[in-house]
């Protein structure tokens, strides 16, 4: 019982920390290129521990992220819950991939999510997108191996299972 609750704490802490990273005060030119920390963290946990991180967890995280970043309520909630859904469906296959293969999967998946995100943002007001808006996805995919190894180390260190 104790181990289980401490495991949840580690997961929530890492999500909290990733949200902190995503609103760090980078200047706008770099901030646009920062990877989607929260989404990648959520993806790691839902692939590694699908029984712990449910679609509901993804949805709530997304909702909090919406409020935090001031986007339309529901935008990230939708994207995050779709992400957890696909991680749940594909986790057994994804776990057998090499890390770089996972990164390629994530690249294409995040491109789709970015497109969805763009559509939703357009509801509010036209968004000027340049190459950076899409380059951000590539950077997220490139950073995946690092996030993967850090979070795996955290998971093993604190025996989250």
């Amino acid at each position: 019982m104790h181990a289980r609750s401490s495991g949840n704490v580690i997961i929530y802490l890492s999500l909290f920390f990733s949200m902190c990273l995503s609103i760090a005060p980078w200047s706008n030119s770099i901030a646009g290129l920062m990877p989607s920390w929260t989404l990648l963290t959520l993806m790691y946990w839902s692939i590694a521990l699908p029984h712990k991180v449910s679609i509901g967890t993804g949805w709530v995280t997304g909702l909090l992220f919406d409020v935090l970043s001031g986007s339309i309520i529901g935008q990230h909630a939708l994207i995050f819950s779709i992400t957890t859904f696909f991680s749940h469906t594909l986790y057994s296959r994804l776990r057998n991939y090499l890390v770089w293969q996972q990164a390629i999967f994530i690249l294409f998946f995040l491109l789709l999510m970015r497109l969805l995100s763009l559509w939703i943002s357009q509801l509010n007001f036209p968004l000027n997108t340049d190459y950076k808006y899409w380059l951000q996805v590539v950077i997220s995919a490139l950073i995946w191996p690092i996030i993967f190894s850090i979070l795996r180390r955290v998971r093993r260190r604190f025996r989250v299972q």
Binding site: M19, I23, A24, P25, A31, L64, V67, L68, G70, N128
Partner: protein, 281 residues
């Protein structure tokens, strides 16, 4: 599946109504610690630089501030007289005139919530009666307006955001136009100037007060580049903003009083010039 449906419902609800404002306010209290934590390093740095300065430096600054205050007060004496006179003249013309504005100061929270827009976050919200569309200034000029109010914090959209436009007036000629942001850091565009407009590089743009969001007369930008385009209806003009967001930590939020002034002298003048006109109230 259910999560997706609920998300889409929320999206539609947020789009069409403002029922979700309450929920948003409540949840923003939950995520407020994240803002505080991210702002912490910058705050600590400020605190350290404040507290590790020598006595000599503080005394020096104090002396400078005192002399500055003296000069400003001296200017204000004259300003009061001029304002009185201006009000009196306006009342003679029977044109409504806005009385002085109220300010509240707020400090920036060093976070970047949405990199695709040009916004900053300040440490005051509902608690201080801030409202949507409230103009924000710093000591140099106009910075932007409030785009979202939360209980503890608010977001301000800068005048340089591509989705922001501010009605301005060229100080030298009184020509009115609209300045829109272009997404770059310190410049704004003037896209609606005809080729024969009387404007030159170095002209000061002040807020014109049209539109009712920004109070009249605050400096916005100086014209920096004019490029007449052959065959286009409008010329391309660029202006550099006067208030720089990079070197501000504190800014001011304005409440402008939009009532026409009920002056006793107005009534007196009115009855003198036209005794037959009935009293307004």
């Amino acid at each position: 599946m259910a999560a997706a449906v609920i998300s889409i419902l929320l999206l539609l609800l947020a789009q069409k109504t403002d029922y979700l404002q309450r929920v948003k306010d409540g949840l923003s209290l939950v995520v407020h610690p994240i803002l505080v934590i991210v702002d912490l390093p910058a705050k600590t740095y400020d605190w350290l630089t404040e507290n590790t300065r020598g006595r000599a430096a503080v005394l020096e600054e104090n002396r400078e501030l005192k002399s500055e205050a003296l000069i400003l007060k001296a200017k204000l004496q004259k300003f009061n007289a001029i304002e009185k006179e201006n009000t009196r003249l306006h009342s003679l013309l029977e044109s409504s005139f806005k009385i002085g504005e109220q300010f509240i100061s707020a400090s920036l929270i060093k976070v970047n919530l949405n990199p695709n827009t040009q916004q900053v976050v300040i440490d005051k919200g509902h608690r201080f009666d801030l409202h949507l569309g409230q103009p924000a200034l710093n000591e140099d000029g106009v910075i932007g307006q409030i785009i979202e109010v939360r209980p503890q914090t608010s977001s301000i959209i800068l005048i340089t955001d591509p989705n922001h436009a501010i009605p301005v007036e060229i100080n030298r000629t009184g020509l009115r136009t609209i300045a829109t942001g272009n997404g770059s850091k310190n410049t704004i565009n003037l896209p609606y100037l005809p080729h024969n407009a009387d404007i030159k590089s170095g002209d000061l743009l002040t807020s014109s007060g049209l539109g009712g969001v920004f109070p009249k007369g605050y400096p916005v930008a100086t014209v920096s580049k004019l490029t007449p385009l052959q065959g286009e209806a409008f010329m391309q003009a660029e202006a550099t903003t006067i208030a720089k967001i990079d070197n501000t930590r504190e800014l001011l939020l304005v409440w402008s009083n939009q009532e026409p002034i009920p002056l006793t002298s107005t009534a007196a003048v009115n009855t003198q010039t036209n005794p037959a006109s009935p009293d307004a109230r």
